[in-house]
């Protein structure tokens, strides 16, 4: 069965610093990948997705992620974070139907002034 590991449960950074949130998945066969953001007491919002094609995917709010098949990773990056980026971020990996989507346990990003 597919599994997803978000290596850091919490990531504190200062405003305007770069950030990388790490995500690794278990299967090397064809997969599709997502990053979601969750603000307090809200649902998850899609940041970006990778289905095929270019390994560098750009999403909303200035985030991007790079699909690395050999390392089975899909790390999320932003070159300069804002206070408003403080939220929890979830990586998800799927094969087949959306009911088979597997979520990581999340990384809480805290951006400090």
């Amino acid at each position: 069965a597919q599994s997803v590991t978000q290596l850091d449960s919490q990531v504190p950074v200062f405003e305007e610093a770069p950030v990388e949130l790490r995500c690794n998945y278990s299967s090397s066969v064809s997969v599709y990948l997502f990053w979601y953001v969750q603000y307090p007491n809200q649902g998850l919002q899609l940041l970006l997705k990778y289905l095929s094609g270019s390994t560098l995917v750009k999403g909303i709010n200035g985030f991007e992620a790079e699909f690395n098949k050999s390392q089975t990773s899909f790390h999320l990056r932003k070159p300069s974070v804002h206070i408003s980026d403080t939220a929890e971020y979830f990586c998800a990996v799927g094969q087949g139907g959306s009911e088979k989507l597997v979520f990581g346990k999340g990384t809480k990003l805290t951006v400090n002034p």
Binding site: F34, Q42, G43, L46, K49, A92, S98, E99, G106
Partner: protein
């Protein structure tokens, strides 16, 4: 555009009482529908999903049930709540296509006392 509505936003119920959470989707037809539960530090757990009216798949045996009486309506129920049912419940929809992302509602915070 498509929207998803989930209510209530918060709910406090005593142990042994019944539960009914409702979710509706607008702007699309024949969506796949999902109920997830989110517990702190444990990521998202898929509870039920549905690919059509009256078609419900249960992922985890538990004290809850789901129904889909109409194409764009998904209901999560319980006859008698347990303390362990407390959590953040999220409804989501997707199109019936491989690689389709999930789109989440704003969630219901359920506290069983």
């Amino acid at each position: 555009s498509q929207t998803i509505h989930q209510w209530p936003a918060t709910l406090v119920q005593p142990v042994g009482s019944p539960l009914s959470l409702e979710c509706t989707v607008e702007g699309t037809s024949n969506p796949n529908l999902y109920w997830y539960r989110q517990a702190a530090g444990r990521g998202l757990q898929l509870l039920f999903y549905s690919v059509g009216i009256g078609q419900i798949s249960s992922e985890v045996p538990q004290n809850l049930s789901a129904s889909r009486p109409q194409d764009r309506q998904f209901i999560l129920s319980s006859k008698k709540l347990l303390l362990s049912d407390s959590g953040f419940y999220l409804c989501a929809w997707s199109v019936n296509s491989e690689g389709s992302p999930l789109h989440f509602g704003n969630g219901t915070r359920l506290t069983v006392t």
